[in-house]
């Protein structure tokens, strides 16, 4: 194979140069930001600057930015803090990190394009205080959810709203106050920062109810010495991501989409407003896992469904919730990172065509239950 092309940004974005620089600078501060001495204060300054930058990027107050180990912890913390004493409602297409943190939650169904059915929301909110978890954009399809509209309905019913913005952050403008949400979760490495940091942004001072009490860091919301390089990198990545234009990425994504369509692909959630970098495309009769393997062997990295710790590709609950039938097991996610080039898309187009021509289209297709 000539070259490797990475088109799995929704799993992890490549490190942005601004983030790399911030990580390296923060590595120099070898002190604990909680310490009272001068080196500690220097570390604290880096942490504060990162917190200020994140707050500015997403329309939050710096004092209400809780740094976590990543997106999954941010989602779990939001549900732990805001869901206290409330019924939980989750959209059917939420990420596993939300679903697993909300056992027994009621489900808000989605339409065929993957966006939430807001007409079904008010009845779900009628039974007393609730917390709705609605993601800003879906990790598999890129479909952008009507968060603002959902927030208005929640407010009218006295419900709270947590927004998993892990995929949307850095890809669409997000403003916590403007959205009307009560909390927003982000993840550093999905922005082009390093692995190991995320954040939960609250719209108002939250009750102090940590998952990890530890040493009382993050205003008591999250114990443990914060990983300064990862946090500084996340903040730098967020700032850089919001300064970049997504128009070029949309054009490249559309080119990838045309290439897939020309080889028999079927676009999923194509009618919904989508993230500019995300393409979910099915090849009828060919298992998604086979497509991912075949493309990987051609040097193109894409994904399907959600890989669990075994590495197996589980059927997608997101695509099943959209009522796709057999296509739910036959769709791959092509997600363009910030540094995608036209040459990358050419490689993808050739690899996709080769894969589509070599694979046998099965007729004994099964719906994902």
């Amino acid at each position: 194979m000539a070259s490797r092309v990475y088109l799995d940004a929704n799993a992890s974005e490549p490190l942005r140069p601004q983030a790399r620089a911030a990580v390296l600078a923060a590595l120099e501060a070898d002190a604990n930001p909680a310490s009272v001495h001068a080196p500690g204060r220097a570390a604290r300054t880096i942490l504060d600057a990162a917190r200020d930058a994140l707050a500015a990027c997403f329309g939050a107050h710096p004092g209400r930015v809780v740094v976590t180990s990543g997106g999954a912890e941010a989602n779990a913390l939001a549900i732990h803090v805001l869901g206290q004493g409330r019924r939980l409602i989750v959209a059917a297409v939420e990420h596993d990190s939300v679903l697993a943190a909300a056992p027994g939650a009621a489900t808000l169904p989605v339409q065929a394009d993957g966006t939430a059915r807001l007409d079904a929301l008010a009845p779900l909110l009628a039974d007393g205080p609730a917390l709705l978890c609605l993601m800003a954009a879906n990790n598999e399809t890129g479909a952008i959810q009507p968060v603002r509209e959902a927030a208005a309905i929640c407010r009218a019913h006295g419900a709270l709203l947590h927004v998993d913005a892990i995929q949307a952050a850095g890809r669409v403008p997000l403003d916590l106050a403007g959205l009307g949400a009560d909390s927003l979760a982000i993840s550093g490495h999905k922005l082009g920062g390093p692995l190991g940091a995320g954040a939960l942004l609250f719209a108002a001072d939250p009750p102090v109810r940590p998952l990890i009490p530890g040493g009382g860091q993050e205003r008591g919301m999250r114990g443990g010495t914060p990983p300064l390089p990862a946090i500084a990198g996340m903040a730098a990545a967020a700032t850089a991501a919001l300064a970049a234009s997504v128009n070029d990425l949309a054009a490249l994504r559309d080119a990838a989409e045309r290439a897939a369509l020309a080889s028999g692909g079927v676009v999923v959630a194509g009618d919904a407003p989508r993230l500019a970098n995300t393409l979910c495309v099915a090849l009828p009769g060919v298992a998604a896992a086979t497509q991912v393997m075949a493309l990987d062997l051609e040097g193109v990295a894409v994904s399907a469904g959600a890989a669990c710790s075994s590495g197996k590709v589980a059927p997608s609950h997101v695509l099943a919730a959209m009522g796709l039938g057999p296509l739910a097991g036959e769709a791959i996610r092509v997600s363009l990172p910030w540094n995608t080039t036209a040459a990358d898309i050419d490689v993808f187009a050739r690899a996709y065509a080769a894969m589509a021509s070599r694979t046998t289209r099965r007729t004994d297709r099964k719906s994902i239950p």
């Binding site: 896992a289 990987d296 075994s310 197996k312 694979t359 099964k366």
Partner: protein, 351 residues
């Protein structure tokens, strides 16, 4: 050439992959997730994958080859576990390893190999594939104790054409382990797998009972005259030829074996160890040579010595006529040999 290797995480398939790499092939590892490991071992909340998949990934990492894990749970459940329970409930004795080879292993992985542009599908089985004058032939392994040809007799000619068995010529398991150590594979000292992979703690009856409760209903144990001798604890616990755990009085122990299982009457018939039938009919026969009447040897169980027999006309098809009568267990395989070569096989039909 590009070769897809089915890697279980055990020593054998790991060495198969390692040897193919050494020979300069472009090797792709694939591991099947067949069942929920946590549920099968009765450990609540444990990972669905278990250690074997992790081992396969580590071996692939060591070899520097691409490795993928395939979710075959639904397929395995339908083709193997359901069949396992249904066969017991019908009074026959299943061979789940053959059903697995017929479905997820050779049928599905052969298709995957083609989809991925691989020219061969390799496994760590102890059998030999030889290129004869009429095409590929399946032969017993060099190591008679490890020979798995009985389990692979249902491999179709099309599947065999694509198959590679790098371990078939190995003298014994120690040679294989020595290769594993030499190649630096992290599974060199791993114990061999035992029993049926998806049955927790050897208790197959509970698994059958969960899917087919009627297979655990008590019923009569009778002799061949119909005299009731005792009570059995469910058809799933018995196989034709079985002498142990019949629940009969002590003076009978070892004197009688199961001669017939009658699912309609939920009855176990016992009789003398000797005797049985000479004619064995084959269900779902698979032919690796032209099916014609001839002398041959057969094995009615994996571990037994070959029996002298003939392939004889039986209506529109062929049946096996044993030289000496035997108590063949319906549902098990009857595999046909000419010396080391596998001619074909089928499942032993009930009378």
């Amino acid at each position: 050439m590009r070769v897809l290797v089915a890697m279980s995480g055990g020593v054998d398939s790991s060495v198969a992959a390692g040897l193919l790499c050494e020979q300069g092939h472009e090797v792709i590892g694939v591991t099947l997730q067949l069942y929920d490991h946590g549920a099968a071992t009765g450990r609540k909340g444990s990972c669905c994958a278990g250690q074997d998949i992790a081992d396969a990934r580590r071996v692939a990492g060591r070899l520097g080859i691409p490795h993928y894990v395939l979710d075959a749970e639904a397929r395995f459940h339908d083709a193997v576990i359901e069949d396992f329970a249904a066969t017991y409930a019908a009074g026959r004795t299943p061979v789940p390893c053959i059903r697995c080879n017929q479905s997820v292993k050779f049928a599905d992985l052969t298709a995957l190999a083609r989809d991925l542009g691989a020219e061969r599908l390799a496994t760590g089985h102890y059998v030999r594939r030889e290129d004869g004058k009429d095409g590929p032939e399946l032969h017993r392994a060099a190591d008679a104790r490890r020979d798995q040809s009985w389990f692979l007799a249902m491999t179709t000619p099309e599947q065999l054409a694509l198959a590679l068995f790098p371990l078939g010529a190995m003298a014994d398991k120690e040679v294989v382990r020595a290769h594993a150590a030499r190649l630096g594979l992290p599974v060199a000292a791993k114990p061999d797998s035992q029993d049926i992979c998806f049955v927790p703690a050897g208790d197959h009856a509970s698994l059958v009972g969960a899917l087919r409760p009627q297979a655990l209903l008590p019923g009569e144990i009778v002799d061949e005259t119909g005299t009731v001798l005792g009570t059995h604890q469910g058809l799933a616990r018995y196989t034709v030829g079985q002498a142990k755990r019949l629940g009969l009085p002590a003076h009978d122990a070892g004197q009688r074996v199961v001669t017939r299982i009658e699912p309609g009457a939920n009855r176990i018939v016992v009789g003398p160890r000797e005797g049985g039938a000479r004619l064995v009919r084959l269900a779902e026969p698979n032919w690796l040579t032209a099916p014609v009447p001839r002398r041959l040897t057969v094995k009615l169980r994996s571990g037994e010595a070959p029996r002298e027999a003939a392939l004889v006309p039986d209506g529109d098809s062929l049946a096996v006529l044993l030289d000496a009568p035997a108590r063949a267990a319906p549902g098990q395989a009857c595999v046909l040999y000419d010396g080391t070569r596998v001619l074909g096989g089928g499942f032993i039909a009930a009378d």
